[in-house]
């Protein structure tokens, strides 16, 4: 195994983006030091290493920072290419497909989910319709495959990880189903497969703490909307 140097990860206890990097590091067996940030009181370390966005996660490898979770995942895959599993397929067409779906999850699916979760009334309905449409596309893409890349877990699976541990939390808070066995048999099977991976399952933040946190976030957004509408 190549000398990995010093690896540090700045994240928070619950960040879904940080979790992706945890999974990559753990699955590839890369030792690292984990630093949980308080985003209401950002550390000098975070401000120094991510001056552009001041966000987590930040991977610091031998003192050099890499920001943006999908960029970090590709960096990990290229730097520790000797450590299985590969996070992207070898074939360029399949790599392009994996990158496409990871982008889709972040740029289309997640914002739809966010709208459904942080709004109410008509805007929430639109968000729910939008996430339903995105899930339909993801379901079709996944059909017949173990993971989005095929036989092996990879970057698009990491990018959708929030579907497995966070969506049940959202469903509990909203009192409605977003993912179900009937409409999403492949996604449901995939979720169980993801949860069966020990390092992933071990990394889930405590569910009751997530419910408390996300319920407060929803309340905050609804209150802000009420205040701005007068």
């Amino acid at each position: 195994m190549a000398d990995q140097g010093e690896v540090k990860l700045l994240k928070t206890w619950s960040s879904l983006f940080g979790l992706r990097v945890v999974w990559a590091l753990k699955l590839k067996g890369i030792p690292y030091e984990s630093v949980d940030e308080d985003l209401t009181n950002k550390s000098d370390l975070l401000l120094q290493y991510n001056p552009v966005h001041t966000k987590v996660p930040v991977l610091i490898h031998n003192g050099k920072p890499i920001c943006e979770s999908l960029v970090i995942l590709e960096y990990i895959d290229e730097t520790w290419s000797q450590n299985p599993p590969s996070l992207l397929p070898q074939d360029p067409i399949q790599r392009a497909s994996a990158r496409f779906w990871a982008k889709f999850m972040d740029e289309k699916a997640l914002p739809s989910m966010w709208q459904a979760f942080t709004k109410k009334g008509r805007e929430q309905e639109e968000g729910l319709a939008s996430i339903a449409e995105k899930l339909k596309l993801l379901e079709a893409e996944l059909e017949g495959k173990k993971f989005f890349g095929g036989e092996e877990i990879g970057i698009p699976d990491f990018a959708l990880g929030w579907l497995v541990n966070l969506v049940p939390v959202f469903e509990e808070i909203l009192g409605l189903k977003i993912v179900d066995e009937e409409r999403h048999p492949s996604l449901s099977e995939w979720s169980r497969r993801i949860s069966d991976i020990r390092v992933i399952e071990e990394s889930w933040p405590p569910r009751d703490k997530l419910v408390t946190k996300w319920a407060a976030i929803r309340d905050h957004f609804l209150a802000t909307a009420r205040a701005s509408s007068g």
Binding site: V71, I93, K103
Partner: protein, 221 residues
């Protein structure tokens, strides 16, 4: 079997031109199939069913979509004349800045083009900050990629050429020589580059389209 490379694109689209620029830098022959975005072809709908957008690269019958994903594919498939750095850290930096350009700079300008007047001040302040951050990356380099054009320069093509026309169309100066001398110097190098210059869309035609679009919809609230 001869290699077949096609680009479903649009003459005025910066995203389309990113793909063409990468192919030209690698001396890859391709056929450009102009798309009418108001009347999308079956070809486009078949090859990009999820987003129904250009550009689409079709390589030996297989489609690749999303311009930044296409740039990665091009670099991995035609390995000469690299547009990405070789070092994984430098490559990560290139990806970071390409994302920043799309999500902060380009998106910021887009929002200003279509915003309500009362929102404009704040949006302008934000985007100027982003341009400042981007300019900081250039320092004394000729291009973001160093001595030669790289992936970040290609990703910044909207800023390099289209931005000036947008500014003229909306009657607003965002990036000026006195405020952003380094970025403007880069813009001159970019549009003057021997591979970039021939594929830039005609200025007058593009400006006419921007002016028409902006005037038609900007104030309809």
């Amino acid at each position: 079997m001869a290699e077949q490379v096609k680009v479903l694109g649009s003459w005025g689209s910066p995203f389309s031109k990113r793909v063409e620029l990468a192919l030209k830098l690698k001396c890859v022959n391709y056929e450009c199939i102009e798309q009418d975005l108001a009347n999308k072809s079956q070809l486009l709908l078949d090859y990009n069913p999820v987003h129904k957008k250009i550009p689409v690269l079709i390589h030996n019958g297989k489609p690749i979509v999303e311009s930044l994903v296409i740039l990665e594919y091009i670099d991995e498939t035609w390995r000469h004349n690299s547009i990405f750095p070789h070092d994984p850290y430098e490559k990560a930096m290139a990806r970071f800045w390409a994302k920043f350009i799309d999500e902060k700079c380009n998106e910021g300008v887009w929002k200003i083009m279509w915003c309500k007047e009362e929102e404009r001040g704040k949006l302008v302040e934000e985007v100027l900050q982003h341009f400042g951050t981007l300019e900081g990356q250039l320092k004394d380099k000729k291009f973001f990629g160093g001595e030669e054009i790289g992936m970040v320069d290609i990703a910044a093509n909207f800023i390099g050429y289209w931005l000036g026309l947008v500014q003229e169309a909306i009657g607003m100066e965002l990036v000026t020589r006195d405020k952003f001398p380094v970025l403007c110097r880069w813009m001159d190098e970019f549009v003057g580059h021997s591979v970039v210059k021939p594929i830039l869309p005609p200025r007058d035609e593009l400006l006419a389209i921007f002016k028409a679009r902006f005037n038609a919809t900007a104030w309809e609230y």
